[in-house]
């Protein structure tokens, strides 16, 4: 039942904010923040309560489960379940949601409606992470689109329609192919066992021929490749991020992109292990291509938001490697990478927003010398940039290192090429710092170093990244439950096929 609360609280808060706040942004911010903080506290409490399990029970123990019948005629259940992976990503969602809620301010039109849409998006994303019924997962995955689209159209800047429509179409195309795969799997399971179900733990035991299995996996991968995004399905992303409002961009990059990584780790790879083995070289090649190509493009941009957008795509390419490395270390690395990237990209987009507010531009050619004016802010931004380039001692390094280690075991060439991504990341990160903070000062409209509030948030995010960088064990322990789960599914369906 606690899972239902976690799921429903943000949406309820959003509704309350919509009806109570109207045009008063302070009320909207307070209500929204409270509705994000409450599930966050619940999640922290759950984590604390379950961190003491013995190693033996980790694989089978669910942190929480909730099931009621939804559409009994087709065996569809409103089934939620939480293990370590879901816990970590829900935690990330609520944390980022809280950051977004706190950064609401008077500059947004219709704050009540804005808060409602942000909250609905958060709830849909939590639904993705918590669903253990594939139908519910798909509904949440698709329903994310509606508030996301409305946020882009209603609160974006510049050419939002083109970007938003492209985003919608790409995601729909991927999503519908995944729907066909999910329903195909459901029917195949029914034909093989006579049981109608959408519970993924049961569906992963469906006996499938290798061809069909590969076909279904392709459906899943296409959907996730669009959302992550992987090159060549990435063309919606930079435009969308550039035209969205700051809060929307943060939710998109920090959490929504993770729904795809989560889907790969939770569904695509464990449910079709044989096919995943077959597809691994191709998908990993796309992952490596994404890492290099997106980082390369990031270097060529002048718009700060686009740089971060491309860099974000580059870092998410690692998650594909981790997921398809098909070993424990890669999987755990991917989970750590998702969490750390979520934290660092949130910080980066906040920093970009601060810069844009202060100077009125995001063009790095027009910026310069900000360090002299605001050294404190500059140093925070520098640390975030260092986190992005994977400096040891910050969380992102742990994730990327584990992923590359995991990948190296089966695909040494892929890991070797992907490692060059770090070089490119260093190049563009340092280029931003160089251009924005050093060099001769250019037209800067405001000169104070007083953005206290965003700086506090950045400091907290950095603290979390440092903590993960030096003490990753609690995170790795929490991520561990997933591995056992995954192997169980792997063994079960491999046994079925033989």
């Amino acid at each position: 039942m606690i899972l239902v609360w976690i799921l429903v609280l943000p949406a309820a808060g959003g509704l309350a904010a919509y009806f109570a706040a109207g045009s008063n942004w302070r009320v909207a911010r307070a209500i929204l923040a409270a509705s994000m903080a409450a599930p966050l506290l619940l999640l922290v409490w759950l984590w604390g309560r379950h961190s003491g399990f013995s190693d033996a029970s980790r694989g089978t123990e669910w942190i929480g489960q909730f099931t009621i019948a939804w559409i009994p005629q087709r065996g569809i259940q409103f089934a939620l379940a939480m293990d370590g992976l879901a816990l970590l990503l829900s935690l990330l969602t609520c944390l980022v949601g809280l950051v977004v809620a706190l950064s609401l301010n008077g500059s947004h039109k219709l704050p009540g409606a804005y808060a409602l849409l942000l909250a609905l998006l958060t709830t849909a994303m939590l639904g993705v992470f918590l669903a253990s019924d594939l139908f519910l997962f798909f509904v949440s995955y698709e329903v994310m689109l509606l508030p996301a689209y409305a946020l882009l159209i209603g609160w974006g800047h510049g050419d939002t329609r083109r970007a938003a429509t492209r985003f919608f179409l790409f995601t729909q195309a991927g999503g519908l192919l995944m729907l066909v795969a999910i329903l195909g799997l459901h029917v195949a399971h029914y034909q093989a066992t006579g049981v109608q179900t959408f519970l993924y733990r049961e569906l992963s035991n469906t006996p499938l021929s290798p061809q069909v299995s590969l076909l279904f996996l392709t459906g899943f991968i296409l959907a996730f490749a669009v959302k992550l995004p992987l090159v060549p399905f990435h063309t919606w992303q930079p435009d969308t991020y550039a035209s969205a409002s700051a809060e929307t961009t943060i939710l998109f990059s920090a959490v929504m992109a993770k729904t795809a990584g989560y889907g790969l780790l939770r569904f695509a790879v464990p449910m079709f292990p044989g096919a995943a083995e077959t597809a691994a070289p191709g998908v990993m090649a796309l992952g490596v291509l994404t890492i290099l190509y997106a980082s390369w493009l990031a270097y060529g941009q002048t718009d700060l938001k686009r740089i971060v957008a491309y860099s974000s795509a580059g870092h998410l390419g690692y998650i594909v490697l981790g997921a398809f490395a098909m070993n424990d270390i890669g999987t755990r690395g991917a989970i750590v990478q998702m969490v750390c990237h979520g934290l660092s990209v949130t910080g980066l987009f906040i920093a970009v927003d601060v810069i844009e507010r202060r100077t009125g531009t995001r063009d790095i050619e027009q910026l310069g010398g900000l360090w002299k004016i605001s050294p404190r802010f500059g140093s925070l931004a520098l640390i975030l940039a260092l986190a992005t380039l994977g400096l040891p001692g910050l969380g992102n390094f742990v994730g990327e290192f584990l992923i590359l280690t995991g990948t190296y075991q089966h695909h040494p060439l892929g890991a070797a090429i992907a490692a060059f991504g770090a070089v490119l990341a260093a190049a563009y990160s340092l280029r931003i710092v160089q251009k924005v903070f050093f060099g001769p000062p250019k037209e800067v409209t405001e000169t104070s170093d007083s953005a206290a509030f965003p700086m506090t948030i950045c400091a907290v995010l950095i603290a979390a990244l440092v903590w993960i960088g030096f003490f990753p064990q609690p995170l790795l322990d929490a991520a561990r439950t997933v591995r056992a789960d995954r192997n169980e599914a792997l063994v079960a369906s491999a046994g079925e096929q033989q």
Binding site: W70, I71, V139, L177, H186, A188, Q191
Partner: protein
Amino acid sequence: MNSAQFTALAPLMVLTVAPIVVMLLIAVRRRHRVCLWATLGLLALTLALIVRGSGKAPVAITGLLLIDNFALFYMALTVSITIGVVLLGLRYMAHEESQPEEYYILLLIAAGGACAMAASSHFASFYLGLEILSVAQYTLVSYVRRDRRGTEAGLKYVILAAASAAFLLFGMALVYAELGTMQFDALAHAPAEQLQNKVVLLGAAMMFAAIGFKLSIVPFHLWTADVYQGAPTPVTAFIATAAKAGVFAVLVRYFAVENSYVAHSLHLFVAITAAASMLAGNALALVQQNVKRLLAYSSIAHMGYLSVAFLAGGQMANDAVAVYLAAYAAATLGAFGVIIAVAPHIHGGEGMERIEDYRGFFWAQPFLGTIFIISLLSLMGIPLTAGFLGKVYVVIAGAKDAHWIVLGILALSSVMGVVYYLRLILLVVSRPAVERPSLVPINPPLGAKSVLFLASVVTLLLGVYPAPLLAITRAINPF
């Protein structure tokens, strides 16, 4: 006729008598309001009799009609839609025509034909039902005499529909010549060696061409856009929804039978026409500038999706068709209802037909705008609306025998659908640049409002909690 047969036949009898009653009422005194109430009353009575007759054992009547839960479901669907159309269109018809009373007679006749078709078990009753429906529709399409487009559409429809009826009749004759029976049942369960006969094949092909015409499936769709555009909008709503339900009833009952040779040999035909309808319908809808034409092409695409259900036999096809039809009818009625509601008030009664007219519609008419958006989202197939559930059922039916190519086409052509629905929704919610006539507040009559409201409620309810409808589809399973 025994009492069981009498009870079973009662809805059809009321529906047959209804046009005569309304005709006599007009003869006594021509009053719009009286005709309206009489029509609604008779339709409500029919619906009540349908509900009363449900749940009983199947009743066969003279080999022509078979009345069971399955037939009653489609009859109920047809009659409910007709009630909706009557309520939605009342101000529109009063505005368009100085004498709108005969419109109700024609609608009742058309509904009667569609219901008879739903219950038919014999070629003759099917043909009669279809023709009663069609003849009423010819007149309905060109009912507004001063509208030249309507007359043109009516003429086009007469010629093509007459040709298709000839095909149907010729096909039936050929099948009869070889099989010696006009019972659908016999055709559905005919053994393979009888059906490999070229004459039977030709006959069946001609019959399906005619049925494809009625459902506007590619390549028999050429009349659709012109007729949808030219007909008075309430009539368009009727043609798009109620007129199709009866045909689907017969198709499901006799051509979605599992292990039937005839159903099996149709699969290739169904797969090709379904794929062509999905692709052509969506592609042509992309370039339309007129809302009614856009919905016409989108309805072709929807018929394509719906045909995919026939690739699976038995229970799955039955569930898929019933769910999809209910979802499609609710959404289509909602969308057309909005177009009907604004028509008498805008541009001096010309209505809003260009897509561009809908810019900023939501801000001027929040109620109608919301209904319009919900309907379009459902037609798009977004989760938590009825349209999504329909799509899920259709895909499940297609996945049963692993028709992956058709399903791939379904998925990708739906994305094309998203393009034009989304464009329309965007226009509806965007802020208008200048003051335009569409921004006059419109208050539709209470009846129309409640139908629109109900259509949206059904759309959302089926999307969020479809279990009750699914229980019904299980109960009506004809196999």
